[in-house]
Each structure stands twice: as C-alpha cells, then as structure tokens.
C-alpha cells in the first residue's frame, strides 16, 4: 500500500513530490495509458495524485475510485506547484490511514445524516403533540423553545413567550415565593421534578397541570437547560367534579324524600299523638273538678291551664311546621263576616280578662271571602298581646273599617313601646316581648305574630306595627275582602 500513482502530473512536479517523500514508491501514469498501466501495476496503489483539476480529470478520479476503492485520491488544483502536491500527499497520510480516512468521513456523513433525520423526527413529533405543552428553558429558566401544545395549553404564541422567564406561568404568590427556582434546583439535583398544581394561562385563567421538568446536559455533563412537559388536568378534574355533583344531587334527592317522610311523620306526631294525652289530662282534671274541694280545685285549674297552654303551643308548632316545611298555611276562604268574628274574639277576651277594658268600634258587618277560623286566631293573638303587654289601666281599642276592597283592623294599646330593633324582627318566629312582661298568659313560643303574619299574607293582606312611648302601640291589619265582599254573609 506504500505505492503512490501520479496521473497526469507534470514531470517537474513529480520529481518534487518524489524528493519530498522518498520512502514511498511512485508510478508515473498518464490518463491515456491508464488502462494498461492499471492492469500491470494496480496492486499496492494506496494513494493516487491526479494532476490539475478539470472535468475530464474528475471523471478520471471516479474511474480510479471505482477500480481501487481503498485508495485515497487527491486532485491537485490548477497551477499547483510541488509544495502543494507534497502537502496534499501528506494530508492524506500513510496508506492505511488514508484508507480509513475515507471510511471515517463516510461514517461521519452517515452519522450526521442519521442525527439530522432523528432531530427532524423529534421536531415533527413535538410539533404534532397538542395535548402536552413541551418547551425548553435555559439554565436560568428563560423559555428557549415552544411547541404547538404549549400554545394551545397556555395561550402564548412562540414569538411572545420565547425569551420570557417561565415564572409567568405560576400564580403570582407562588412565583414570588421562589417556587420556580426551587423546581429547577430540584430537577437539576435529582434529575427530575414533578408535581400537580395550578398554573396560569396567557389570559389569566387557571388550569390544573401535571408538570415534569428534566435537565438537559451535554456529553460532558454540563447543564444546558431544562425540558418542561405540562399536561392540563383540568378536564379530568372537571369530570370528577361533575361526577361528585351528580352523586351530591342524588344524595340531595334521597335526603329530600327522607325529609318529606320525616315532615309527614312529624306533623302526624304533633297533630295527633301529642294532643291525645293532653286531652286526657284536661278531661281528667275537668272530671275531678266536679267533686273537688277548694284547694284541689285550684290545683286542677293549674293542671287544666297548663294542658291548654301546651295545647296552644302544639298548635303553633304545627302551624310553624306547615308554614316552613309543608308549603305554607292553608287558607280556606268562605263567606265570612269579619265584624262578627271580631265581636266573638273581643267577647271571649273580655270574659277571660274581666278587669280589662276592651273597646270595639266596627261597622255592623264587614262581609268578605275569608278564612274565619284563621282570622279568629290572628285577632285573638293581636288583641291578646295588647292586653298582655299594654298598660293595665288603659283600654285596648279595636277599630275596624272598610276602605275600598279592603277591611282594615287596628288594635291599639297604651303602655311601654316595642323597641325599634325588636319591631324589625317582630314577625320572625321565636320572638316575643321582654321577659319581664312574661306571665302565664304570655308564656309561649314567640310564634303568635309569626303565624298571624303568615295567615294575613296568606289572605293577600298585610300587617304592620307602629310603636312609640308617646303614641303607644298599634297593629294594623289590611285584608282584601275578596271578589264579592257584598256577597252572601
């Protein structure tokens, strides 16, 4: 392989080359005689130097390369002198090296091609991925590449985000706390950082992301930057939330059915089961009273009064329950004389409070379509309150009149006024006047005015109160009398 073929090289140049590397053996050929020369002397030719470059000599070089694939071929530049020829010869080195040089080049070219193909494939893959944001950061956290998935997920275009620090994907408080730097540090030290957390889109909206950060190093281990892959978990999260909502709705329906059943049972207990023993107590006391002495009568009176108060409270709880749980109090309208109903209430209260003065100023009749029993309850409550809370020496004055299609009833008492803050809550359940004014008559649940309010509004009417130390307390009830107030009453 230590043979050098010099083809179409001028004699002077040949001599110079031969003198420069005398350890090699030289063959002087011309392209014209090449065919015969090659057949005789080709064996051992390791290097071929071809004279001044031309298109013909290019073809010659191809021919030589075909005949002797292991030879190193050098084409001299036009006008090359001896020194250039020697340099070219030295550059291609010793014959085995020369042979391998060609192979190395080939290998390098193939490797480069393979790398290019692989890079292209990776780039296409990364660009095709739209479900994942894939981008790179420099060692300091500045974005250096951006795939379409990142654009879709985070809302930034590559041109807008490359060159920006990745902390802008984090909620402000997290970015300020140094979270981004910590993540890069962990990725660098541990080879990977992974978490699930809230991130920001370009428009400021949040999404729940699964994030992986991996360091990128060169062959020497030097940190070049980071690859960051993010996936939006908001949709799975929303699906989970939707599932939870359905489960909750289902539970609510079951609960509603259970509540409905409970309400019906509760109303039945109140309305029936609790009242029966009371009736037994009351009736038992009444029976004993017939033959009792004075002391026993007094005790029996207390038993009877307690039973009655308990019975009233049960009625009120029943009304509250119907009102709050059962869709409101039922108002059954029928032709009614409101004036007659007021007279009945006033007479009953006069009998119960013989020491008190109760005035009634009313037209002879006030006919309307009303629920008589329910209105007896309302006025018994309001006038009863006026007796209980009003001045003991002053009169309770009840006035009723007609105004257009409405009946108005005003109940007035003198005495301590209702504090302003209590006036606002007067018709709420479980409210009542101050404790000092409580006695056997007023002791109750504080539901009377709430129920009265429900009954009046159930009629389409209104109830309001005015109270001041100077003018005393007035409740005014307005009731629509119905379509035919002159009707059949």
């Amino acid at each position: 392989m230590g043979v050098v073929a010099l083809i179409d090289v001028e004699d002077e140049l040949c001599a110079a080359i031969e003198a420069a590397a005398p350890e090699l053996r030289y063959l002087r050929w011309t392209s014209a005689s090449l065919e015969g020369a090659w057949e005789r002397q080709a064996e051992g030719v390791g290097r071929v130097v071809i004279g001044a470059h031309s298109s013909e000599r290019m073809r010659l070089a191809e021919e030589v390369a075909r005949r002797c694939p292991l030879a190193t071929i050098v084409l001299l530049a036009p006008g090359a002198d001896a020194s250039e020829g020697v340099r070219a010869l030295r550059a291609i080195g010793a014959p085995p090296a020369a042979a391998s040089t060609l192979t190395d080049r080939e290998r390098a070219r193939l490797a480069e091609e393979a790398l290019r193909t692989s890079e292209q494939r990776s780039r296409l893959l990364i660009e095709a991925v739209t479900d994942y944001a894939i981008f790179t950061l420099d060692p300091g956290g500045v974005v250096t590449s951006w795939n379409p998935g990142a654009q879709r997920l985070k809302g930034y275009r590559a041109a807008d985000i490359i060159g920006q620090h990745f902390s802008r994907f984090y909620p402000e408080e997290e970015a300020r706390s140094g979270k981004c730097e910590r993540e890069l540090e962990i990725a660098e030290q541990e080879g990977r950082f992974q978490e699930e957390g809230w991130r920001l889109r370009a428009d400021g909206s949040r999404f729940f992301a699964n994030v992986t950060i991996t360091p990128i190093r060169d062959s020497g281990g030097k940190l070049l930057g980071f690859a960051k892959v993010s996936r939006d978990l908001t949709e799975p999260l929303e699906a989970e939330a939707q599932r939870s909502r359905l489960v909750a709705e289902n539970a609510a329906l079951t609960e509603r059915a259970r509540t409905q059943e409970f309400q019906e049972r509760f109303l039945a207990i109140l309305g029936h089961d609790l009242r029966n023993p009371l009736a037994a107590i009351d009736m038992g006391a009444s029976l004993l009273r017939r033959t009792a002495d004075a002391r026993t009568t007094k005790i029996l009176d207390r038993i009877g009064a307690s039973a009655q108060r308990m019975s009233r409270m049960i009625e009120q709880i029943l009304d509250l329950t119907r009102s709050r749980l059962g869709g409101g109090l039922e108002i059954v309208r029928a032709p009614t004389d409101l004036a007659g109903a007021l007279r009945e209430v006033v007479e009953e209260l006069r009998a119960a409070h013989p020491s008190r003065r109760i005035e009634l100023h009313s037209p002879a009749t006030l006919p309307g379509e009303l629920d008589r029993d329910r209105l007896l309850q309302v006025f018994s409550n309001i006038i009863g309150n006026a007796i209980s809370y009003g001045s003991r020496t002053g009169a309770v004055v009840v006035r009723a009149w007609r105004e257009g299609g409405h009946a108005l009833v005003e109940v007035h008492n003198d005495g301590p006024s209702i504090p302003a803050e209590l006036q606002l809550k007067l018709f709420d359940p479980f409210r009542r006047g101050n404790r000092d004014s409580r006695n056997a008559q007023t002791a109750g649940l504080g539901l009377g005015l709430f129920i009265s309010h429900q009954i009046v509004t159930g009629h389409g009417g209104s109830i309001r109160v005015e109270s001041s130390p100077e003018h005393g307390t007035s409740f005014r009830v307005a009731l629509p009398l119905g379509a035919d107030p002159e009707g059949t009453v």
Binding site: R275, N276, P277, L278, A279, M283, S286, L287, R290
Partner: protein, 123 residues
Amino acid sequence: MVHTVLIVEDEPDLREIMRDVLESEGYRVVTAADGREALASLEDVDSLCLVLLDLLMPVMDGWDFHAAFKQLPQAAGVPVVVHSSAPERAPEGVARVLQKPLKLDRMLAVVKEFCDRTDSASD
C-alpha cells in the same frame, strides 16, 4: 232506659277518661281501640245512641269504620260524632265533628244532645 255510647279511640288514657266521664253521667259505655274492635263489639251492644269516633287509628281507621258501619242494620238512626285532630277530613254524613283536644263540657253537651233526644223520642 239506659243508652249506650260507643267510644272508638286508640289513646288508652283518653278512652278510659271519656268512659269515666260518661259513666259518671249515667251512660252505659262500650269502648274500642280501633275500627275493627268497634265493629266486633257492636254484636253485644243494645240501644246504641251514639258513636264517638276518632279518625286516625291503627288497624282500622275512622274512615273505614264509618264506611262499614253505615252498611249495618244496627247503624240505622245512630249518629256518629267524630272527634279528631284533623276535623276537616271527617267523612261525609257524620252528625258532628269535634276538634281535639276534646273538652269535657263540649263532649257531654254533644252526648246529651243525641242520647237524651233519643231517650225522649222513645218515651
């Protein structure tokens, strides 16, 4: 002639006090804890002047009892007075409806009204 009142009431204390009250007034009283017991007891009752009927009862309620009672020959001319916490739901055709809790005077007045009237009518 002593007339009989049939009390149909599931609350035992109330039922027994009602019996005491009416017996102390000189009436004969038969009691039943529900509609079925009441129908069974009718076989042994003479000169029934009134049925005091509760509505909400186990086994056989007041409505079913009333429907069955009306079909019986013994029921002819015997008024049924309902005493109930749901008076608005009383069956049609009853003589009177009393709201619970039942008051002694009210109950006695009603019993007198129907039983003594029967008495005077038969005199």
